[in-house]
């Protein structure tokens, strides 16, 4: 009856990667277009109010800003494809050198947060989802509701106030010396990680809980109970695998949010990551840096989506073969 049309995982991944490449290309177009419509231009930002028309024109020619837009775009894209992110207009350094450390610092922050957040979210989500309306569920529900409602710059400020200013246990800002790994200075990471955890856990726990609760109330789970399967086994073999599909998507969403949310938290704690870089370079109209960072964040988003898609296909048998 049901024809088992198996789709090779390789083919599926290849198609998703293809889609990802197209997506990134579209993003590059958007980023380029967006930086073009920023008010003012780099030359006037560098020269300031004292610029004469002549000096402006000269600087524009020097920076290549007088080329036709299409050529600016193709030159930029060509450079990107060869690993050349361009040259920072403000610092005069290659963008790659400028943001290399910063990317590392941001990824470290995100990774540390994720490593703590994922197991915690799954644990709390499963505990609350399988014991709906129990005491733990109600307490967690209120806390996470508060966590979702409060934006992370408020959470961050409150935590800094409590742990740094009042109790004095931790430094309020993350002054990591350039060129050093943030892991070498764990005291500087606690506050940013804690802030991201509080904000991230709130939404993830709620979403994982819903997924678990749905699977726990599903017909197949009731059927397992009616067959005399022990409760722990029901949770492990019936509830979790079916809830995990939702979990993967939640984690991918959270990881993406982390990359974006980090911009704010980095600014609050002056943590030297790409978020802070992005804010600074937008202020100084350093277009090549803005473009590179924006594209990088987009690439991380796309990559995370890709990984989540593949994980989902591995977890949900139905997606692997069409009827």
């Amino acid at each position: 009856m049901a024809g088992v049309k198996r789709q090779s995982l390789g083919g599926l991944v290849a198609r998703r990667v293809g889609i990802a490449v197209v997506l990134l290309w579209i993003v590059s177009l958007l980023v380029f277009a967006a930086t073009q419509v920023l008010p003012g231009d780099t030359a006037s930002a560098i020269l300031g109010k004292t610029a004469t028309p002549d000096s402006l024109a000269q600087l524009r020619a020097q920076l290549g800003l007088d080329r036709p837009l299409l050529q600016q775009y193709t030159d930029w894209l060509g450079g990107l494809l060869h690993g050349d992110l361009g040259r920072s207009l403000a610092a005069g350094l290659p963008v790659g050198d400028l943001i290399g450390d910063r990317v590392g610092a941001t990824l470290t922050l995100a990774a540390v947060t994720l490593v703590l957040l994922v197991p915690l979210a799954l644990l709390l989500g499963v505990l609350t989802g399988t014991r709906r309306d129990g005491k733990l569920d109600q307490v967690v529900s209120w806390i996470t509701l508060a966590g979702v409602a409060v934006p992370e710059f408020v959470t961050g400020t409150l935590l800094a106030l409590l742990l740094a200013t009042w109790l004095g246990w931790l430094p309020a800002v993350s002054l990591i010396p350039p060129g050093e790994s943030p892991l070498a200075h764990p005291q500087y990471m606690v506050l940013p990680v804690l802030t991201l955890l509080v904000a991230g856990l709130a939404s993830t726990v709620r979403l994982v809980r819903v997924g678990v609760a749905q699977a726990a109330a599903a017909d197949y789970t009731e059927m397992a109970r009616l067959s005399g399967i022990p409760e722990r086994r029901v949770v492990r073999r019936w509830v979790l695998p079916n809830a995990l599909a939702a979990g993967v998507q939640v984690i991918a969403l959270t990881a993406q949010w982390l990359v974006g949310g980090i911009v704010i938290v980095e600014t609050v704690f002056q943590y030297p990551g790409i978020g802070q870089t992005l804010v600074q370079s937008v202020q100084s109209q350093d277009i090549p840096v803005v473009q590179a960072v924006a594209l990088l964040i987009a690439a991380i988003y796309v990559l995370l989506n890709l990984l989540a898609d593949i994980a989902l296909v591995l977890l949900v048998p139905r997606l692997r073969s069409a009827r």
Binding site: S227, I229, P241
Partner: protein, 591 residues
């Protein structure tokens, strides 16, 4: 198990909803070894609640509040969760209504069996799993064991659910509508399987169903439930031949049967809601024999004959079932009203052919039934005629005028002349509109004379139409949420008929309704047809319904016309093998 203990013995069972209302009460049921007891009732009668209680289980906050449930002599009520786990799946098992959603989508076929066997301390090795699958005629080989549930057909999923229920050789299996949702041919095979397993293994089966005809062929005994109580039980043949409870009699009279076509008689009224059940006999408000005694107190269980039990003060006066022949109709020989030629529809870029050069004509005043299993294309054809689906090719003409593919390309007059009633009345009415508003709306959009009269005139016409479909007057200003399925379908029929169409399309309009309500709706439609001179295109999968209402029938299989002819001829002497199979598999009391 001790030799004399019944496989399942339920006595004085009470299950209460969270609010305290009794969902079922005073239920007495016994299933002996190697016996199939059918528990029959319409929706809301509490039959699933009883079935689950047989496993010591209650759903959605309901609780078992009294009585006794004994499986192979062992009392289940009062056992702790841990002890119940040892009984469930091992001594008493459950086969769910919808195996598609009751199988773990993230677990392979073989693992389902392995988990169950191991939970009950049994070896779950490949040979055992293979044997369990082969016992229900599923392939036992490795490739099949490694399949996922979604890779099985509906029939295979149900077989797997049965294999799971039998894997630990329980004393009794509760099967909750195990064939609902399956096509008739698959249903017949599953029923054969159940019968064979009873004989082969001495299994007791509590078989829950809404369909008396389907259980007639397999049940040794039948118990009929109404509003939470077993109102009658006895040996299957005796109970069907001579029902003692007026409700059982009413059910039989509303049961369409393709082998013995007869006039259907529905049961008036509807089942009372859980919290509004009357004090006395719950059936009294719908019962032709009801007296003051019935309304004052619930009748006790009495035994009118050996091995029979009934809850009715008037059991002795219940007349034997009288089947009236179908009213004779003059053969329609008018000009063709609807002509469909070479209709072709495919989906998915030609992968699925829903209609393959289908052609038929429908004479004025005639009722043509399109019959087929799911996937035969019958609904697609109806949607093309209604203008909801554009055909790939072919022509549809109404009274000689070719119709545009989509309804919006048709003239108002063309749209008025052709109306449709959909399958699911719960979804086809706007939840924010009252019954009378819903019926008045098409008048304002399509009506001929009422547009001029404005709102008041259209509401008056709508009121008359609601009277015609016998919707109680007090319900005219109710929203759909306050109406029962049968009432909703009456509103939907009124909405279609209010613009005085010539052709009415009925797409499975009774398949979401209980049989007693189905009979009442079919009765109504038959009457309206004579009264208004309607032409009907009736889509259904149920040969019994076809025999009750149609003049001619068109049998479809995978988008092609297999056979067509007068109903009597096609049902009594089908010419094509496929039709023969359908006719043989369709449930009937007279077998």
């Amino acid at each position: 198990m001790s030799a004399d203990a019944a496989a399942l013995e339920i006595a004085g069972l009470v299950v209460r909803a969270p609010g305290g209302a009794a969902i079922v009460e005073q239920v007495e049921l016994t299933v002996r070894g190697a016996e199939i007891v059918a528990l029959v009732g319409e929706s809301g009668s509490g039959k699933t609640t009883c079935g689950l209680a047989a496993l010591g289980f209650a759903r959605d906050g309901a609780r078992i509040d009294g009585g006794s449930v004994r499986v192979a002599g062992r009392e289940l009520l009062g056992l702790g969760e841990r002890e119940l786990r040892g009984v469930r799946g091992r001594h008493v098992s459950y086969v769910p209504q919808n195996p598609g959603s009751a199988l773990n989508p993230a677990m392979r076929v073989g693992d389902h069996l392995r988990e169950l066997l191991r939970a009950h301390g049994r070896a779950g090795d490949d040979a055992v799993v293979q044997a369990a699958l082969e016992r229900v005629h599923l392939p036992g080989e490795r490739a099949f064991r490694r399949r996922w549930p979604h890779q099985l057909s509906g029939g295979q999923q149900q077989r797997l659910a049965i294999a799971l229920a039998l894997a630990c050789e329980p004393a009794v299996a509760v099967m909750d509508e195990p064939t609902t949702g399956l096509d008739v041919v698959t249903q017949a095979r599953i029923l054969d399987e159940v019968r064979r397993l009873r004989d082969a293994s001495g299994l007791g089966v509590l078989y829950i169903s809404h369909d008396l005809a389907a259980v007639a062929s397999i049940a040794d005994r039948i118990a009929v439930m109404y509003a939470g109580r077993v109102v009658e039980q006895g040996p299957a043949a005796e109970l069907l031949a001579r029902p003692c409870h007026p409700y059982t009699r009413g059910l039989l009279a509303s049961l369409p049967d393709h082998r013995e076509p007869r006039r259907l008689r529905g049961i008036g009224g509807a089942v009372a809601a859980l919290d509004a059940r009357p004090a006395g006999c719950a059936f009294a408000p719908r019962c032709p024999l009801a007296s003051d005694a019935c309304r004052a107190q619930a009748p006790p269980l009495t035994s009118p004959a050996a091995d029979r039990a009934v809850r009715c003060f008037h059991a002795a006066q219940t007349p034997p079932p009288a089947f009236e022949p179908l009213p004779q109709r003059a053969a329609a020989d008018g000009a063709a009203l609807l002509a469909v030629r070479d209709l072709r529809v495919s989906f998915g870029g030609g992968d699925v052919v829903a209609a393959d050069d289908v052609g038929f004509a429908l004479a004025r005043g005639e009722c043509l039934a399109l019959v087929g299993e799911s996937g035969s294309g019958k609904t697609t054809i109806a949607r093309c005629v209604a203008g909801l689906q554009r055909p790939d090719g072919g022509e549809i003409a109404l009274a000689g005028e070719p119709l545009a593919g989509f309804a919006r390309g048709r003239t108002r007059e063309q749209r008025r002349r052709l109306q449709i009633v959909f399958q699911n009345p719960y979804q086809s009415l706007n939840p924010r509109e009252t019954a009378i508003e819903a019926v008045a709306r098409p008048l304002r959009e399509l009506g001929r004379d009422h547009a001029a009269g404005g709102r008041a005139a259209s509401l008056r016409a709508a009121e008359q139409m609601l009277e015609r479909v016998q919707l109680p007057r007090r319900l005219a200003h109710s929203r759909p949420a306050a109406l029962s399925g049968g009432e909703l379908q009456r509103v939907a029929i009124a909405r279609a008929l209010v613009v005085e169409p010539e052709l009415l399309l009925c797409d499975e309009i009774t398949s979401a309704l209980d049989v007693s309500v189905q009979a009442a709706v079919l009765e109504l439609l038959g009457g309206l047809r004579d009264e208004l001179g309607l032409t009907l295109l009736f889509i259904t999968h149920d040969l019994g319904v076809v025999a009750a209402i149609a003049d001619r029938v068109l049998v479809l299989q995978r988008g092609s016309v297999v056979e067509t002819g007068p109903v009597g001829q096609v049902v009594r002497a089908p010419a094509q093998p496929y039709t023969q199979e359908l006719v043989a598999a369709a449930p009937s009391l007279s077998r």
